[in-house]
């Protein structure tokens, strides 16, 4: 076991998959000699060369579309979108094309494609370097949407994504790239080639009093908030790190709320029509009898983006203290 950062785990995941399978290649803006603007692909150009680590033109839809074509030809592309904010030009290719190929050809053509994109706020990135885009894609059958929050999960889920025969959107909480560290088995250890299955949530913290559902940076903040309310208020919070939004681990969501009777969903996307709405609907529909309080959502306000100035950004972003306050409020029911 070695402690590494989230971004190092992602880099190792790509490196190991490229070493394992010659069909795996990387493309995106600045992924070559620059090693990516966040350094996620650092060293891979030197190791695998320009045939397998390809600087794309500055045009996101074709990064995805070329990936789709290569995936149709049974290569295993990993496409990097530099910031999730810039993925929208590729929406057509992701939603109309990648997601639908298998269905529209009745299983004849599949798209084993990974699209990686750093997402999320709190990084002084303003409207166009902070977005959470997961809700757009979690609405689309045919896609898988994965958001890891720990180095262990990031590497294991990324490897699963590369080996998955379907298009997988892999959103990385960039605020945690270097801030989040964790133990990851060494590549040469017996468990070095571990994978984490797509579609399974993780109980990040066990608790009895209420359930918190979160992912990405908000899973971390929720754990911190749970520590605060445990210490200060004696509230015992269970934190579920969803890890995969699509397909959603419904069993894990329901099992927790059936135990605690209370549910809070935390996400940094805008509140309305965000992913929390789906969790709330699922719980209302299938665990109503277990509820001992309202289903609550804590999310970003309904404004068109995360604003830049630090006071505005801090107001926008949920943080351990606002989450702790929401936990106390719900626990009081």
């Amino acid at each position: 076991m070695t402690q590494i950062t989230l971004i190092e785990a992602i880099r190792r995941g790509m490196d190991e998959e490229m070493a394992r399978d010659p069909r795996v290649f990387l493309t995106g803006e600045d992924v070559g000699v620059r090693g990516g603007v966040f350094r996620a692909t650092q060293g891979l150009f030197e190791k695998y060369g320009p045939d397998r680590v390809i600087d794309s033109p500055l045009a996101e839809l074709s990064i995805v579309a070329v990936g789709i074509g290569a995936a149709l030809a049974e290569l295993r592309p990993i496409c990097e979108i530099q910031f999730a904010d810039f993925i929208h030009p590729a929406f057509n290719q992701i939603v109309s094309e990648a997601a639908r190929f298998y269905y529209r050809t009745s299983g004849a053509w599949r798209v084993p494609l990974v699209i990686r994109a750093p997402y999320g706020g709190g990084v002084s990135g303003g409207l166009y370097h902070s977005q959470s885009v997961e809700a757009f894609y979690a609405h689309v059958p045919g896609l898988k949407v994965v958001i890891p929050s720990t180095p262990y999960d990031a590497k294991g889920l990324l490897k699963s994504a590369v080996r998955d025969p379907n298009p997988v959107l892999f959103f990385e909480p960039k605020k945690g790239y270097r801030a989040i560290k964790g133990d990851v088995p060494d590549a040469d250890s017996p468990e070095g080639d571990y994978t984490v299955p797509i579609g399974q949530a993780r109980v990040a913290r066990e608790g009895r009093d209420l359930s918190v559902y979160a992912y990405g940076m908000m899973a971390h903040y929720s754990e911190k908030a749970a520590e605060i309310v445990a210490r200060e208020d004696g509230i015992d919070v269970e934190v579920i790190d969803l890890r995969t939004l699509l397909p959603l681990d419904k069993a894990a969501v329901l099992a927790s709320v059936r135990k605690t009777g209370k549910a809070l969903i935390v996400y940094e996307d805008n509140l309305t029509m965000g992913f929390g709405a789906e969790i709330a609907a699922l719980i209302a529909d299938e665990a109503f009898d277990s509820l001992d309080g309202p289903i609550r959502r804590l999310a970003g306000p309904d404004v068109p983006g995360v604003p830049y100035a630090h006071t505005l950004q801090e107001f926008y972003m949920p943080n351990p203290h606002t989450i702790a306050a929401a936990m106390r409020d719900l626990a009081a029911y």
């Binding site: 074709s62 070329v66 290569a70 030809a73």
Partner: protein, 348 residues
């Protein structure tokens, strides 16, 4: 330049191949006509036609290795698809949206030609999305050759990726981004623009400020070729040259086949509001099928008796395909739920 290179590639086509080209164009036309009739009879919901564009499509298909090289078509490529191996029965099953219909199991509208076995990629209805994807297919060909995953001389593997679209669709950013990749990475790709003069109702001069789509090739650093899209052998020659370039690792080619759509855009369109009957009649006089028939007859390759025999055979094939498709069952309702995700591969 060698003497050989000055000879038109089509001049080396044998008589049987020339007749096969003619037969394919004719079969597509008769099938197409039947589809319009079925729509007028209220038997099918929708048809979109290739009429008038058979030379552009069949000429291109015969220039590639059919069923091996990748083809990413558009919704008008009926004749192209037939040339590659889609059958009249397949097409009829699509028109009637019957159970197990070849392209999508009845999920897609007709004219979304598809065969994994024939490397014919099943597209969407969103125009030009197939162009950057075709750059991806071509990228994969080159990737496999460069990384040693495939032998570039192995003719059982695809060595070029062909995509088609109309001239209106070249206004899409998707087209630009795909062509740009093809140019930057010198991809073994052919983009065949079937310029049929209208994008539904909108004429070419409202789509672009240049005389030819092919003029734009300069912007991608690749050759751009204009060809008479109603001359099947001219199209064959142009595409064959592009295929040779691609096979030789010399990169992509943009080919613009100037042609004309003899029918409304689709069974839901009425073209009388946007083009004159005189113009349509003028182009009916340039119909590529009689034109090629006259050529074959003048060359002594096709006799009037043979031509009539082809007509009879086409009628029989279309009749029997229609009868079999009409008799086939509809999809079971719950088939709407299947094949959303590909299953995980066996092993690790």
């Amino acid at each position: 330049m060698t003497t050989d290179a000055l000879v038109r590639a089509s001049s080396r086509l044998g008589e049987q191949t020339l007749l096969s080209i003619y037969w394919t164009m004719l079969l597509s036309r008769r099938l197409d006509e039947r589809a319009w009739a079925l729509h007028r009879q209220g038997k099918i919901h929708f048809h979109i036609s290739a009429m008038g564009q058979e030379a552009a499509q069949v000429g291109a298909a015969f220039a590639i290795q059919r069923g091996v090289d990748y083809v990413n078509p558009y919704y008008r490529d009926l004749a192209l698809s037939i040339a590659i191996g889609i059958t009249p029965f397949d097409i009829m099953m699509s028109l009637f949206a019957k159970q197990g219909e070849y392209s999508s199991g009845g999920r897609q509208m007709p004219a979304h030609f598809n065969s994994r076995r024939l490397n014919l990629v099943g597209g969407s209805s969103v125009v030009a999305t197939q162009v950057p994807q075709t750059a991806g297919l071509a990228f994969a060909i080159k990737y496999r050759q460069k990384t040693g995953l495939a032998d570039p001389a192995d003719a059982t593997q695809p060595r070029v990726a062909l995509t088609c679209l109309g001239e209106g669709s070249t206004s899409q950013g998707e087209w630009h981004e795909g062509m740009n990749w093809a140019g930057v990475h010198r991809l073994p790709m052919i983009c065949l623009v079937q310029n049929n003069a209208y994008a539904i109702s909108v004429p070419v001069d409202s789509q672009m400020a240049v005389a030819n789509v092919a003029d734009r090739a300069a912007g991608y650093g690749i050759p751009g070729v204009v060809v008479d899209g109603n001359d099947v052998l001219a199209v064959y020659d142009a595409v064959r040259e592009a295929v040779e370039r691609a096979y030789a690792g010399e990169g992509a080619t943009l080919i613009e086949a100037k042609t004309y759509r003899l029918t409304p855009h689709s069974s839901d369109d009425d073209d009388r509001s946007y083009r004159t009957r005189e113009e349509v009649e003028l182009w009916k006089g340039r119909d590529p099928i009689p034109r090629f028939r006259q050529y074959l007859q003048a060359e002594g390759i096709l006799s009037p008796e043979q031509a009539e025999a082809y007509e009879r055979r086409a009628r029989v094939e279309v009749d029997s395909a229609q009868a079999a498709a009409e008799a086939a069952p509809d999809p079971s309702p719950e088939e709407a739920l299947g094949a959303v995700y590909a299953p995980a591969e066996g092993g690790s």
